[in-house]
């Protein structure tokens, strides 16, 4: 059977991660596919995994009664989807929907949380990498909020 280790090793998120940790991560990984239009997760559901998107496009959405689904951002090949698995109460804050056929590697959050607790060096390394992604997304969201292309008033 094809192992996911080479894919995980070559992903920028895991760049230069110690070989033994890569093996550990691979042990918590599985291949998944979503048809276009299918929800990957929905707001309020339990969050026990995250995804490395290999192909396709995913919309992070929120549903409002008056405006329906609002797409906040889209993610695609190479992006990481989901961090609610990392922070209690482990619940998705938004919906994620595949906009087209999407292939990803799902990483089992429960399994990784346990390994982070058992080995704090691994946990620190993992959190540093997630903090970097969170910082990037937060900066992007802040710029988005500025509505820079609006007419200056």
């Amino acid at each position: 059977m094809e192992t996911l280790e080479p894919i995980i090793t070559s992903h920028p998120f895991f760049k230069d991660l110690d070989k033994k940790y890569i093996t550990l991560v691979t042990g918590c990984a599985s291949n998944v596919r979503f048809d276009g239009g299918k929800f990957i997760f929905r707001e309020g559901e339990e969050a026990h995994q995250f995804y490395l998107i290999r192909q396709g496009k995913v919309a992070i959405e929120i549903f409002t009664p008056d405006r329906g689904h609002i797409v906040i951002e889209t993610l695609d090949e190479g992006n990481i989807l989901g961090w609610s698995w990392l922070i209690p109460p482990y619940q998705w804050h938004f919906d994620a929907r595949a906009l087209e056929a999407t292939r990803a590697i799902a990483l089992d959050g429960k399994c990784l949380r346990k390994k982070c607790e058992e080995d704090h060096d691994f946990g620190y390394e993992f959190l540093k990498r997630f903090a970097h992604i969170m910082e990037q997304r937060l900066a992007a969201s802040r710029i988005q909020l500025l509505d820079l292309y609006d007419v200056r008033t």
């Binding site: 496009k57 919309a59 710029i143 509505d147 820079l148 292309y149 007419v151």
Partner: protein, 289 residues
């Protein structure tokens, strides 16, 4: 025709009377979006062909209303028609948007420094445009397309406010399909039916398939967007000396006389609007300027 100018260097001020507007007649108007339009202009003085370098701008005078700087958005190799694409935001541009075929405008220019297309030869090129920042870059894209073989990978990253703000969508498709330009588009706010990317333009930068060690970047958009784009390009390993931005300030004379467009020690009208990022990066962080 090629532009063998220096790195974002000054292009000579047009001879004659740089403060005297030349009458240009509107031959065609085109509504690009609900608030943005393109004017196709022709000089009424046939003996003086209008030539410019990509990145330059004109002072466009709506008679009796006012004069504003607008970049040239057309093909530098087509001297018969002069194109300006503007967004109707205020007094002058709103009146400009109401003009039609046969109306006459005053043009002074072309003014300002050009994009370093000669320096970009042999390199990959990343063009980052935000909002109305795309028209000032279009002449460079035309020039690159005409000499496509002289450049490596060319990547246009374009961010618009919403899907209905996207400029030149059909043309971008042609650039992608026929001229080997990688085009990535994103919008800050999605709308029903939009299947493309949502997120700020900086999120497209990791998608550009370029060799960071041999890339030249050109950025136009609101200042905050240019600062963040430059940072993302630096994170990709692009040399700050090969990043260029186009600056905006209110202008009056357009030729370095009045000081209206001062930006630290620079006058944007004559030292810019195109600047090497290196030269102005400290100034971009100064709030008092």
């Amino acid at each position: 025709m090629t532009f063998e100018h220096e790195v974002a260097t000054k292009v000579a001020v047009p001879d004659g009377l740089p403060m005297a507007p030349r009458p240009f007649v509107i031959r065609r108007t085109r509504r690009e979006t609900y608030d943005t339009f393109t004017l196709e202009l022709e000089s009424t003085i046939k003996t003086k062909p209008f030539s410019f370098a990509p990145g330059q701008f004109n002072m466009v005078y709506v008679f009796g209303v006012g004069e504003v700087p607008i970049s040239i958005s057309g093909d530098p190799d087509n001297m018969d028609k002069l194109l300006h694409t503007a967004r109707a935001v205020g007094t002058v541009t709103k009146r400009m948007s109401a003009l039609g075929k046969g109306d006459v405008l005053g043009i002074r220019g072309p003014f300002g420094a050009a994009w370093p297309l000669a320096e970009a030869k042999g390199k990959d090129v990343v063009i980052v445009a935000g909002g109305i920042g795309l028209p000032p870059l279009r002449p460079s894209i035309y020039s690159i397309m005409r000499n496509r073989g002289e450049y490596g990978r060319v990547c246009l990253l374009y961010g618009a406010r919403t899907p209905s703000d996207i400029l030149f969508p059909r043309e971008m498709e042609t650039w992608r399909k026929k001229h080997g330009i990688d085009v990535f588009i994103t919008v800050d706010r999605s709308m029903k039916g939009w299947k493309g990317n949502v997120g700020v333009v900086t999120t497209l930068i990791p998608k550009a398939t370029i060799d960071p060690l041999n890339t030249l970047a050109m950025i136009v958009g609101p200042e905050v967007m240019m600062r963040f784009s430059a940072l993302e390009l630096l994170k990709r390993g692009i040399d700050p000396a090969t990043i260029y931005v186009s600056m905006e300030r209110n202008m009056k004379c357009g030729i370095g006389l009045c000081g209206h467009c001062q930006f630290g020690p620079h006058f944007i009208c004559k030292d810019g609007p195109v600047f090497p990022y290196n030269r102005i990066k400290e100034l971009l962080m100064k709030r008092e300027i």
